[in-house]
Structures are given as C-alpha cells and as structure tokens.
C-alpha cells in the first residue's frame, strides 16, 4: 500500500488573539503551509477542518474557513473529538488519500477560545466529563486529571515536584518558541506557590486555553515525490477510544486509549518505542505527560516520575518530549493542537527546528488525546 506524506507545514502564533477571527487565524497557518509546500490552491482536492465548535459564535465553522481560504468549491467538513480534533482531521485526510479518493488535502486545525465570556466558559467547563452521573457533582477537566494524579502518586510514589518538573521543562522550551503563548521559563518555587485548582493540581500543572491555528498539507506518495524534497511520511497511524466515564476505566493511572493507539501506530510503522527520537505528547496537565511516557512505552509503568526527574525527556535524554513547549507553554487551542504537534515533529525530522533541534531525528511521534482519554490518536512520522 502506498504512503501518505506531509509536503507543507504552517504554524500560527498561539495566544490571546484578539486581533483576528478564527478564519483569519486559519488563513495565517494555511498561507505558511502553502508557501512551504510551494503549491497553489487549485492543486488542493479538499480540506478537512479540526475544531471544537462550541467555542465559536460562528455556527458551522468549516464553511467560513473554506470561504476565507478561497477553497470553494472543494469539499470540506469538520472533525470533532474534543482536544484531539486536529489529529482526527489529519487521520480523515490520510484515509481519503489512502483510499485514492483525493491526492492532495489541506488539514487546518483552528480554534478561538477567547470569544466566550467567563460564565460561558465556566458552564462548558462543567460538562467535560460524563454529564449524566458525574457533572452533577461539579466535576471539571482539571478535577479528572487530578483524580488520576492522586492515584498515580498513591500507587507509584510520584511526587508533586516530579509533576511540576514537566511544566518547568515545557516552559524552558516554550521560551525558545516564537509561536508559543508563554515564552518565559518558570522556577519550582513559583510553580509550587501557585493557586490550587483541584488538589493536588495547581495552576502551574494546567495548560491554558488559547487561540491559534496550524496547518499541514498531505499528499499521496506519487504527488509528494513529484512536489517535495523534504516529505515527512505518516507511516504509523493509531487511533483508539476508551469509556467516556472514568468510572468504567480499568485503572486511573494511565490511558488505555493511548496504549492501544500507540501499539497500532508502532505496528503499522514497523517500529517500537525505542525507535522514537523525538515526541510531542498531550500535556494538558503535568500528570498527563507523565502517564504518556508510560502509556507510550518510553519507560515502565509507574516510572514516569523518574523519567522526568532523570531529565530523560530533555534534548540529550532518552526521548526528548515537547521540545516546542508542549500544551503547557504553547497554550492549547484545542482543535489546533493535534496539527501543531504534527508540524513540530515534521520540523524536527526535516532538521528545521533551530536551537530546539533534536540531533539525528528521523523517527518522531505525536500523541494527541481528546478529553480524559476518550479518544487518542498516535502518529509515527518518518523522514527517509
């Protein structure tokens, strides 16, 4: 079966973008990607938009994005699976090319979260979990990950410091990423002094909402070889789900959807965890990154805390993780994140990451989670 490759990448500035609408943000990233690919809009067969609609005032988002990007009358639609909407869009485009329906597809992950008022956001915040049995008790997104953190600390002795070291690392790299929301390093003292959100998680354990967009152009093997000298191949595509309700999970110390999705991606790409040279994982909360090290097989179950405190996730360590700042420092425009991760890995594999370059990176991984692991998409990317 033929491969699917990334021939163009574009990443907008993440932050509080009161200067632009969501379609204008999408255009930013799209333009960069098209210039990077060196193709014209007429060359595109279709586009897929990854975004979470409830945050926008515009109903039916893909329509307005497609129009603003000047892509009518090409097909488009939305993919939504919470924070992994971007990866779902990439998977959709990948499937359409693999099936031979399209040759070149633009994937735009875009999100504006700051159009909502604080009450509107607070109302949405209470509906992230299973609303019939859990939201009635006022659960929130941080609360769910806090439940995992509490159990992980109980079972494996993971410490508060180890959790915050994830944030410190990501801010270190975010300070070197001009597209990030927070471009400042942080200290352990400052992190420990931050407000409680949901015990044991504090403000510095949590990623921030943000606005932003990222774009990748996917092409069939034949077209990619024609057009691009620096194609990055999507060789492993894994996707799995887990119960919406955390009450029905086998355990509360890892995400079974991440284990399953990574197993599928590794198998498809013919690699194992040891072959991954650089990774982007879903650090919506510090505990999420620690569980990701374990779920993805970078370390043994329960040793995620040791992995970060031994600096194995820094450049020079076993697997550099989130060396663009991760969700923590970049911000998390939920629909865009999956595409942002893909852009970063593609950059790394092309050798274009500047001071954040991981040496000899030829195989990379993205791990994009929706919600509390209801959905997980793992991609293994390769540069020949």
């Amino acid at each position: 079966m033929s491969r699917v490759g990334i021939i163009g990448i574009g990443h907008g500035v993440f932050g509080r973008r009161s200067d632009a609408t969501v379609q204008e943000l999408a255009f930013e990233a799209f333009k960069l990607a098209m210039e990077d690919a060196g193709i014209a809009r007429e060359d595109l067969d279709a586009s897929v938009i990854g975004s979470v609609p409830e945050y926008h005032k515009q109903r039916s988002l893909p329509g307005v994005v497609q129009e603003y990007l000047g892509l009518n009358p090409a097909p488009t639609w939305l993919t939504e699976v919470a924070c992994s909407s971007g990866s779902a869009a990439i998977r959709t485009a990948w499937m359409s090319i693999k099936a031979g329906v399209h040759d070149i597809v633009a994937v735009i992950g875009c999100q504006k979260m700051t159009e909502l008022s604080t009450p509107e956001i607070l109302a949405l915040m209470g509906r992230v979990g299973e609303v019939q049995w859990e939201s009635v008790f006022g659960t929130t997104f941080p609360a769910y990950y806090a439940l995992f953190a509490q159990r992980h600390m109980y079972e494996f002795g993971t410490t508060r410091e180890q959790l915050l070291e994830v944030a410190i690392k990501n801010h270190y790299y975010g300070a070197r990423n001009q597209c990030a929301l927070f471009q400042k390093e942080i200290t352990m003292e400052k992190a420990k002094a931050s407000d409680e959100v949901s015990t044991p998680l504090q403000v510095y354990d949590c990623c921030a909402n943000a606005d932003g967009a990222a774009c990748v152009i996917l092409a069939s093997e034949e077209k990619a070889k024609e057009i691009s000298q620096k194609t990055v191949w999507l060789d492993g595509m894994g996707c799995a789900t887990a119960s919406m309700s955390v009450l029905r999970r086998p355990n509360l110390t890892g995400l079974p959807s991440a284990e399953a999705a990574s197993a599928e991606a590794y198998r498809m790409a013919g690699v194992s965890a040891q072959d991954i040279k650089v990774a982007e994982v879903h650090d919506c909360f510090t505990i999420a990154e620690i569980m990701a090290y374990e779920d993805l097989g970078f370390c043994k179950k329960g040793e995620g805390g040791k992995f970060i405190s031994d600096r194995q996730a820094y450049i020079g360590g076993k697997v550099p993780v989130n060396v663009d700042g991760g969700l923590k420092a970049k911000g998390h425009p939920i629909g865009a994140t999956g595409v942002s991760m893909t852009v970063e890995i593609a950059k790394q594999l092309r050798g274009e990451a500047g001071e954040r370059q991981v040496p000899d990176a030829d195989v990379g991984l993205t791990h994009n989670v929706g919600g509390i692991g209801q959905y997980c998409f793992v991609q293994v990317l390769r540069r020949d």
């Binding site: 009450p119 607070l122 109302a123 915040m125 209470g126 509906r127 609303v131 019939q132 049995w133 859990e134 939201s135 009635v136 008790f137 006022g138 659960t139 929130t140 941080p142 609360a143 806090a146 439940l147 995992f148 953190a149 509490q150 159990r151 109980y154 407000d195 409680e196 959100v197 949901s198 015990t199 044991p200 998680l201 955390v246 009450l247 029905r248 509360l252």
Partner: protein, 146 residues
C-alpha cells in the same frame, strides 16, 4: 424524575429515570440485565454485554472503598456556592464505581485512598425544589436516622 438528580442536572430524560425517585426515598439502585444477568452501577438500560434493553433495578448496599479523590477549588457554573468540595471515586463492594461528594461525617484530614466508606442517599434540604444526590460517609451512616 431524573431532573431531581444533582445540583445541576443535564439529563432530564433517560431510560433509567426511576433511579432518582428511588434515591429520593432513600434507595441506591443499580441495574441488572434480565436477559444475561450483567449488573451495572450507575444503572444503564441497554446491557453492555448482550445489548438487551430489558433491565430491572436492584438495590446496592452502598458499601465502598476509596479509589481516588480531589478537592475542587475552581468551580463550574452552578457550583459556585458549594466550592470547595471534595469529590471521591469509590469502588463499590458489589462491583462498579461511583463518583460522589464527601459528606459531613468524613473530615478532610481523614481522607485516604483505601478507606472504607458508605454511600448514602441525600436530599438538598434547603432548596424548595426536590433535588437529590448521594454522598460518601463513614461506614454505618444511614439515610434515615430513626
């Protein structure tokens, strides 16, 4: 009426609506598939094993062990008056898990993973409308103090 369940309720209509009526009368009910016998707490109408929609309610004891917990400080809409509150996830003796608030019989300092607890049906006493929930209490606590 399922809308009775919870401080803020998002699911007024459900096939397991009677759960709330039972809760108001002091009973915690799980579901049991009439076809294959699979049980579930919280109750569900459509069996996850055999997909049959034929179920019946059965009463669970509410005895449970604490699996994990968190104290929520930043509240979503509708819970501003309750904050901070402590949410626990418990493993029920009969199987299944539940998520609920800790109640008055358990002090914050006493909370520890692995502790034994009793889930007790509760009424929001100071609201005029009927609103019910369940809470995590010390073993031996009962709904009705006869």
């Amino acid at each position: 009426m399922f809308k009775w369940f919870g401080k803020v309720n998002f699911s007024p209509f459900t096939k397991v609506s009677d759960f709330a009526g039972y809760l108001k009368d002091g009973h915690l009910m799980g579901s049991k598939c009439k076809k294959c016998g699979t049980t579930s707490f919280p109750p569900r109408a459509d069996c996850e094993s055999c997909m049959s929609g034929d179920f019946e309610f059965f009463e669970v004891t509410g005895k449970a062990t604490l699996h994990t917990f968190t104290k929520i400080v930043a509240a979503p809409t509708g819970f501003e008056d309750e904050v901070p509150y402590i949410v626990g996830v418990v493993d029920l003796d009969e199987g299944g898990r539940a998520l609920a608030w800790f109640g008055e019989t358990v002090k914050e300092e006493e909370i520890a993973i692995g502790m034994e607890l009793q889930m007790v049906p509760r009424i929001f006493e100071e609201l005029e409308e009927i609103k019910v929930y369940y809470s995590l209490e010390k073993p031996g606590t009962t709904w009705s103090k006869v």
